[in-house]
Symmetry: C2
């Protein structure tokens, strides 16, 4: 299930896309518009900067802004950055995580098929599709 990390990140991205004037938007403004604790958003937004989704600038006139055009962001990349791999099962989440049952597993095909479907769905959806 998608947690607040992913959901709030999407809302921050939508907020930034709607106020995409080129200047930086203070987190204070985003937090008050979205009615989310600013302190908690700080943690989330920090990861979004580290992940290359947005850029931050300190000081007066500072804040956050998008790094690219809104249509160039997929929902999938935002969710995956915040939530980790969008995998249905642990053994498909990381290549290092090798299951001893993988050669005989009767469900692996199903999980793989499912994960591909999920991937296509979320990476096909763009940030602009949400704003409409």
């Amino acid at each position: 299930m998608i947690s607040t990390r992913g959901r709030y990140a999407l809302r921050v991205m939508m907020d930034l896309a709607e106020h995409n004037s080129g200047s930086y938007i203070p987190l204070k403004d985003i937090a008050s518009r979205q009615e989310i604790s600013k302190k908690y958003l700080e943690i989330i937004v920090k990861d979004m900067v580290a992940g290359g989704l947005i850029s931050g600038l300190s000081g007066k006139g500072g804040g956050y802004k998008l790094c690219r055009n809104p249509e160039e962001y997929s929902v999938g990349e935002i969710l995956e950055l915040m939530e980790g791999p969008l995998s249905s099962v642990a053994c498909l989440a990381e290549s290092t995580n090798i299951c001893p049952r993988k050669d005989t597993c009767r469900t692996l095909t199903m999980w793989t098929e499912f994960d591909n479907m999920v991937h296509d769905f979320f990476f096909g959806k763009k940030l602009t599709d949400l704003i409409r």
Copy 2:
């Protein structure tokens, strides 16, 4: 992400389907074939009985067996019983959980569309599709 509860339940169901002679199969046998802790399986299997997936009989000659033909079980109902609602977000998991933002939420359509896709996928897959 699907936990051991759902994954182990699927394996128990597949095991029962493959040894579906009409008689009861002791959990001891299932646990040793599947190489899963019998003690842990007890918890899982108890919920499967309570949920009407399988029936249990105590005493000698007892154990567990399917209530229906294998092709009459969908993967979705097994997973949903063990994992709870297969919802992507909390506000779609239970009808009692009403979000104050539901009338203005820009992502609700996406989550609904996604959940429908997931539902169709897992309820379309039958237990017999896994055994093949």
